[in-house]
């Protein structure tokens, strides 16, 4: 394990930026999101939940896929270069770190999504322990340990220091390039970090939603869950916006659209939401005409359909962003409890 004084973080970021594009949570006009670190960037490592999750680095909200030119009757396809520069994402919390396992199951399963795959190959994840978990955090319900985030490097703030533990080959390689900035952590440091991790786990235990019972959910009795009479009541107040989907680290639905630039056509993909009424709209109508059906689709997907196809793994990491951002505070926790029974009370 290594350590570096908090006061030297800017030096660390500068060193990482030398040879990599560095994404760090930055304060942008009062809100925190991943942004490229550089001149004028104001890193914010206090805020636990960036508005958009770290998925936005690997699966951007808007991404060019291919471009075309049309001349008379002729069409030319211009394949896009896959992004290939190496990059580092710093400050990924345990929930977001876990979300990559879920996104990998989607995008890296056959046939592979080459855009995502390229980014995964070139990206190094530096994960960061959650010093002060919040009430909306329920990663523990998904077996995630906020004090031990999965990444190529795991870091943890404690006292005056940031502690740095390379985990994977990629992590070791990155660490090598930064060697001269680090001090070696000694036994006392290791103990202090272990202590801090214990603290974090203790807080996690006490979080109001940590005991969220998901035993009802999963792949079995799909139709029973689908036909629950409670969907109507739960979805009643849903405004049909896409806030929950767009801030979600595991929502991965996208739209493919063409944009006429005037001198050619850019085909791009952008995040889409199953909450939108045009999501499944076809020329002759939609199979999900009501907001209840669209609402149900989102939660059934996360709690039933996805686990059914993925060894029981839920498509939720308990980051709690949707709890914070839903305009009417309806969310996966309320759904899971209302339909799955409140066994924790």
């Amino acid at each position: 394990m290594f350590k570096i004084k908090k006061t030297k973080l800017n030096e660390l970021f500068a060193a990482i930026s030398d040879g990599n594009v560095l994404y760090v949570p930055c304060n942008i006009k009062g809100d925190t999101d991943y942004a490229v670190w550089g001149e004028g960037a104001e890193a914010d490592l206090e805020t636990l939940k960036t508005v958009k999750s770290a998925k936005s680095v690997f699966f951007p909200q808007c991404e060019d896929i291919v471009s075309f030119t049309r001349e008379g009757k002729n069409v030319t396809v211009n394949s896009m270069q896959r992004e290939s520069e190496d990059f580092v994402v710093f400050g990924v919390r345990a929930c977001d770190a876990k979300s990559f396992e879920i996104l990998d199951r989607v995008f890296l399963s056959d046939p592979v999504d080459t855009f995502y795959k390229t980014k995964r190959e070139h990206g190094t994840i530096v994960a960061l322990c959650c010093t002060r978990p919040e009430e909306t955090c329920f990663c523990k319900a998904f077996g995630i340990d906020a004090s031990a985030p999965a990444g190529d490097v795991t870091t943890c703030f404690n006292g005056e220091y940031l502690y740095w533990q390379p985990v994977t080959e990629k992590g070791l390689n990155l660490t090598k390039t930064l060697q001269n900035l680090f001090e070696s952590a000694d036994e006392n440091d290791e103990l202090a970090v272990a202590d801090e991790q214990k603290n974090i786990r203790e807080i996690s235990e006490k979080l109001p939603l940590s005991s969220l019972d998901l035993s009802y959910w999963g792949k079995d009795d799909l139709l029973e869950k689908f036909n629950s009479p409670k969907w109507g009541e739960l979805s009643e107040a849903c405004l049909g916006c896409g806030a929950c989907t767009f801030v979600c680290p595991t929502c991965q639905c996208y739209d493919v659209r063409d944009f006429d630039k005037g001198n050619g056509i850019q085909r791009y993909r952008c995040w889409d939401s199953c909450m939108y009424k045009d999501f499944t709209m076809m020329a002759h109508g939609t199979p999900r005409p009501t907001q209840m059906q669209r609402f149900r689709q989102r939660f059934m997907h996360k709690l039933v359909y996805f686990p059914s196809n993925n060894d029981g793994v839920f498509s939720c990491v308990g980051c709690g962003r949707c709890l914070e951002k839903c305009p009417i505070h309806m969310n996966i926790v309320k759904v899971a409890k209302a339909i799955g029974g409140e066994k924790d009370e």
């Binding site: 508005v51 060019d64 919040e134 009541e233 009643e236 107040a237 405004l239 806030a243 709890l323 926790v333």
Partner: protein, 328 residues
């Protein structure tokens, strides 16, 4: 303090359900942490035990009445003073069936912005105490107390006054301060900027937009059955685009669409996940219209013709734009 009001609300709701005046009630239901309420429809005494009303009952219920007022039987709607402006405006636009709603106007002591509490250091909030003057957040890391006026929602800082402009009956227990608060200071600051500064300001704000459409979907003035941004043939998608210009136009176009109809209910800014100060766009229109056509408050009543659809000989000439320096 609000508990007394909630008890009266619940009792009255039960009476109206019992007498058959209404067959359901729309209000708010508590969440997990004391601040995360969800609008809900109640039909029975049992369900009504979950009804809450306090400093976090900010969602404006009027928009739900577009659908609810058309269903079988009357619905009792608990409306705060500012919600009644949206209600009136929707009546004026023939979006709500007035006969389908029984309005019980309820007092409002100002709604609290949980984001402000959190920004001021209330991390891990799992309970709230409100004594009218102060708000105490019980958190995992200890209690934090704030003066209520420091943590009010933006819309409450620009309160139009505590008078209900539409109601069938009122529940007012605590005396209400009826003064409207000034609301154009923020607009004036932006007007004082140079065009370049102004452009930079909006660019930096609007570029945060993730196009979730929460502002549009919560907006009582956005009551079109089919939004232009949802029409695939319009060429403007309701999704993120690679073109930042169109991205920014979304909010400007929306502000134009609701001009003269926006009651300044402030829901757009409240729900924006990126905290874009969208109310400033709407208030700019309101301020300009007030200056051009005389004071007008959308939703103040159900009869007055809105300035943009009411031609008078005294209307300003288009040259007012250049007079105001818009061609810089």
């Amino acid at each position: 303090m609000m508990q007394q009001v909630v008890d009266i609300m619940r009792k009255r709701a039960l009476q109206l359900l019992g007498s058959g005046t209404v067959n359901r009630v729309i209000g708010w239901k508590n969440g997990e942490f004391g601040y995360d309420q969800t609008p809900a429809v109640f039909k029975t005494e049992d369900e009504l035990s979950a009804l809450v009303y306090d400093s976090f009952s900010s969602p404006n219920l009027s928009k739900y009445l577009i659908e609810e007022s058309k269903k079988e039987g009357k619905i009792l709607a608990f409306l705060k003073p500012c919600d009644t402006y949206s209600f009136n405006q929707l009546i004026k636009e023939h979006r709500i069936n007035r006969d389908g709603v029984y309005i019980v106007g309820i007092e409002c002591c100002g709604m609290v912005d949980i984001n402000k509490l959190k920004a001021l250091g209330a991390v891990g909030v799992n309970g709230i105490a409100d004594d009218g003057e102060t708000i105490t957040a019980h958190t995992l890391y200890g209690d934090k107390t704030f003066k209520k006026e420091e943590v009010l929602l933006e819309k409450c800082l620009a309160c139009k006054g505590k008078k209900h402009v539409a109601f069938d009956e009122l529940i007012i227990v605590n005396a209400q301060d009826d003064e409207a608060k000034p609301r154009f200071d923020g607009v004036k600051e932006i007007e004082a900027m140079t065009p370049d500064e102004r452009f930079a300001f909006w660019r930096s704000q609007l570029s945060k937009c993730i196009r979730c459409n929460a502002c549009r979907n919560v907006c009582p003035a956005c009551s079109c059955l089919q939004c232009v941004f949802d029409n695939p043939k319009s060429g403007v998608a309701s999704k993120a685009t690679p073109d930042t210009f169109e991205e920014q136009m979304y909010h400007v176009i929306r502000a134009f669409h609701v001009a003269g109809r926006c009651t300044d209910c402030g829901e757009c800014s409240r729900v924006c996940p990126q905290n874009i100060p969208l109310h400033l766009l709407n208030r700019k229109f309101i301020k300009d219209m007030n200056e051009f056509y005389g004071e007008y408050q959308a939703g103040a009543d159900t009869e007055t013709r809105p300035p943009l659809v009411n031609y008078t000989a005294g209307d300003v000439e288009p040259t007012v734009i250049s007079d105001k320096g818009g061609d810089n």
